[in-house]
């Protein structure tokens, strides 16, 4: 899916990879899958980004950060926000999922598993602190729109779970 709908010119990749998600600083916007297109047209980089959640306040900052990242490389960038196709957690890369886990956010499960986890039917979300699956849902809505709040019953630590969006 990512390959079909994403088009980024190879020489722009390294600049975009250096821009991180302002709310999850360990995660590059490329690994997040929000950059859908980046092409150079007549010296201007045309970048299309898509929001994770409609109300995500990070989008404005991400747009500004991309513009300044290209400005440092003496390039002008124009940002366009696209809604279709809608972002899905499937677009987070494997490297991105690993970065999330290391940062203390459990990576999204498959849609079916996600539903079971958020309804509290099955204990399957793995604690990012100790790895136990003896965890429970505290709230379906966490510190940001994209996360739910969990607590580990083994080590007692609270942690965020990145909700599946598909």
């Amino acid at each position: 899916m990512t390959l079909e709908t994403q088009h980024i010119e190879p020489h722009l990749v390294s600049i975009l990879e250096a821009v991180s998600d302002p709310e999850i600083p360990v995660l590059s916007i490329m690994d997040m899958g929000v950059v859908r297109e980046a092409i150079e047209v007549d010296g201007v980089i045309q970048v299309k980004i898509t929001p994770t959640y409609s109300g995500c306040p990070a989008m404005d900052v991400i747009g500004d950060d991309i513009v300044s990242a290209f400005a440092k490389a003496n390039k002008k960038a124009k940002i366009t926000l696209v809604l279709s196709p809608a972002w899905t957690t499937d677009w987070i890369t494997d490297r991105g999922r690993k970065a999330l886990e290391e940062y203390g956010i459990a990576a999204p499960l498959s849609p079916e598993a996600d539903k079971e986890a958020l309804l509290g039917n099955k204990k399957i979300v793995k604690c990012t602190n100790c790895g136990s699956t003896e965890t429970h849902l505290v709230s379906q809505f966490g510190s940001t729109a994209c996360k739910a709040l969990f607590k580990c019953d083994t080590c007692q630590e609270p942690f965020d779970y990145f909700k599946c969006l598909k």
């Binding site: 109300g55 926000l81 809604l83 709230s139 729109a145």
Partner: protein
């Protein structure tokens, strides 16, 4: 906000739309978005005032989702308004009460947590059914917004229906109070399915959702959860209406004075 941002979709070119079509589409978009705007504002009032930290965060997260959706709708409405000065902000903040087209349900006050949850529940069921249909719209921009929003609204519905079950089938106190809210707010549900002139015009063009066709499934969906929560489904014969025509309840003026205060006091103020 992102400078130069536009929604990148291929709707009917503006030049090919007649004045009347454009007006109907504009009013249709406002009819959808105003519900989310006013409900979002109501939920925003709870920021720092929720009954517990988790519910406080949940209500404001839902509010944020709704405002995000509203921004997409209003950016589109501004594009087709034919008014160069129109922006998502002028549409949100500078209209008069009679120009807002939200249903009466969403402007009802945050009386207590029971009312907050019931209002959310009664709206989420409609919102979810509505967006699932809007996903089939001929209008590519509305279709894209619907596809994005429906994922978020599924979470809202899960949250509110879960709380209905917990409160209804909870303690005697929670049962009584949530039942009172259901009985009180039920009379605002019928208006969700009323159709304005703009609605009918957009349905005829394959752009809008035929809400009349959703009514039966809506009441079935809502009643199932209420029954599961051991709550009584009201049997009203009388329903309130008027919001869609701009005839609002007394609460609306207070909401707007709060919401518009900053733009009215410091015109054109920006962050």
């Amino acid at each position: 906000m992102i400078n130069n941002s536009t929604t990148d979709t291929n709707s009917l070119p503006l030049g090919e739309m007649s004045e009347g079509q454009r007006g109907n589409l504009y009013n249709y978009i406002l009819g959808i978005a105003d519900n989310s705007l006013i409900l979002g504002q109501r939920l925003g009032e709870l920021c720092g005032h929720g009954p517990s930290l988790e519910t406080d965060i949940a209500e404001t997260n839902i509010s944020l989702d709704l405002f995000g959706q509203v921004r997409s709708y209003f950016q589109y409405a501004a594009q087709i308004s034919g008014d160069d000065a129109a922006t998502e902000d002028t549409i949100a903040f500078l209209r008069l009460e009679r120009q807002y087209k939200n249903v009466l349900l969403v402007e009802q006050p945050n009386t207590d947590f029971g009312y907050v949850i019931v209002r959310q529940f009664l709206f989420d069921a409609y919102h979810l059914l509505f967006l699932r249909e809007l996903e089939k719209s001929n209008d590519q921009t509305l279709l894209a917004i619907a596809k994005k929003s429906v994922k978020e609204v599924s979470y809202h519905w899960r949250f509110s229906s879960d709380w209905i079950r917990r409160l209804g089938d909870g303690t005697q106190e929670s049962h009584e109070r949530v039942q009172e809210a259901v009985t009180d707010l039920w009379m605002y549900t019928d208006e969700l399915f009323h159709q304005t002139e703009a609605d009918q015009a957009m349905i005829a063009e394959g752009v809008g959702v035929d809400t009349a066709a959703l009514k039966e499934i809506y009441y079935k969906m809502v009643s199932e959860v209420l029954e599961e929560a051991t709550l009584e489904v009201p049997e009203n014969k009388y329903f309130h209406k008027g919001g869609k025509q701009g005839i609002h309840s007394e609460h609306m003026g207070y909401i707007l004075s709060d919401m518009q205060y900053m733009q009215r006091t410091y015109p054109n103020m920006e962050w």
